[in-house]
């Protein structure tokens, strides 16, 4: 009898531990598979160099969404973004992949445009800027001058 109670207590404890671990990994992994809100837009980049699903999408440094998926389409990187419902993106908005600081993580910065046409859900951001490849630039300056 006593033994059964101990077993149940241990079992409950382990269960709580597993739930906590699951919650933690969802929080840290920045996954939201339950009730994804907002709308989806895509953008094609020649290269995404280091951008990952879960990376933030920012306007003026404020998070307005997340990168949901990155895939290959016609040898270009197609990035799917989930944007918060209240944020409207103009048709001439520019999406640039930037680095936080000099060697920080990559994020996607959107500079809002002035067009009166708004990108609809499942639309596409057509103005993009690929990340600047510092190593490539550096090698150009090192090896370029013969």
């Amino acid at each position: 009898m006593e033994r059964a109670r101990v077993n149940i207590a241990v079992g409950l404890f382990v269960l709580i531990g597993i739930v906590a671990l699951g919650y933690l990994s969802i929080q840290l992994g920045r996954v939201s598979f339950l009730g994804a809100t907002g709308y989806v837009v895509t953008a094609d980049f020649p290269s995404v160099g280091g951008l990952k699903p879960g990376s933030t999408v920012e306007i003026a440094g404020v998070e307005i969404g997340r990168v949901e998926a990155i895939g290959l389409a016609d040898y270009q990187a197609r990035v799917t973004l989930r944007i918060h419902a209240g944020v409207k993106l103009q048709e001439d908005a520019i999406a640039s992949i930037k680095t936080k600081g000099l060697i920080g993580e990559k994020y996607l910065r959107i500079s809002p445009g002035g067009s009166d046409r708004i990108i609809p859900p499942h639309g596409k951001i057509r103005e993009v800027e690929a990340p600047v490849d510092f190593e490539e630039l550096l090698s150009k300056y090192i090896f370029g001058k013969v």
Partner: protein, 211 residues
């Protein structure tokens, strides 16, 4: 037999001759190449190469630039969300100032052109927008990728953005203009652009009078 074969050959030759023209007519790469070639011809013109004809050469380049660039679209996109509140007169003034700014920054730079190779790597058309990818090989054998973003206006494809080494011209100016306008005002931006142009004119005058 021989006659029909000859007929076939000449017909084939005719098709080959005509096909590229038909396929490429009205394509963004072609229109861009035509204008770039015109600029190169002006820059390589020995008569315009002398120091005394700087003005004439610059005017010729500017004229060609007006044929292939849509300065008003570039200005509009660079001003972004500060464009709609502007009055038509303000817009017109801004486009002129912006075109002057680009001329100061770029046209004076391409004057040092000395036979660098320009390669056209391909184009992608998406509705009314297109990207033409090019590459300039410098004398040091360094490749500089330059992408032209173009939009269609009737029959013509016009350039509205230039992306050098992955850095967009519009994105660059949009950030700068936005910073100036939000920290001070639109009037301040116009004032700064005007003083820059006046300083430049002044420098040019001094430079020419010294000779």
């Amino acid at each position: 037999m021989t006659l029909s074969r000859r007929g076939f050959v000449s017909a084939a030759a005719l098709v080959l001759l005509l096909a590229p023209a038909e396929v490429w007519a009205g394509q963004p790469t072609d229109q861009l190449r035509t204008q770039v070639d015109r600029v190169v011809r002006v820059l390589e013109d020995p008569e315009l190469k002398q120091e005394s004809t700087v003005k004439a050469r610059r005017a010729a380049v500017r004229k060609i630039a007006n044929d292939i660039f849509d300065f008003s679209e570039t200005a509009k996109r660079s001003l972004a969300r500060h464009w709609p509140p502007r009055t038509p007169a303000e817009r017109e003034e801004f486009v002129t100032l912006f075109a002057d700014l680009l001329e100061r920054g770029y046209i004076s730079k391409i004057e040092v052109y000395g036979g660098e190779k320009i390669a056209y790597l391909g184009e992608t058309i998406e509705g009314d927008l297109a990207t033409v990818r090019t590459k300039i090989t410098t004398k040091q054998q360094t490749d500089i990728p330059i992408d032209y973003r173009m939009l269609v206006r009737g029959e013509k494809w016009l350039v509205y953005d230039v992306i050098i080494e992955g850095v967009s011209l519009i994105a660059n100016y949009r950030t700068q203009f936005n910073k100036i306008i939000t920290t001070s005002s639109y009037q301040e931006l116009v004032r700064r652009m005007k003083t820059k142009q006046e300083e430049f004119d002044e420098d040019e005058r001094k430079r020419t009078s010294q000779r």
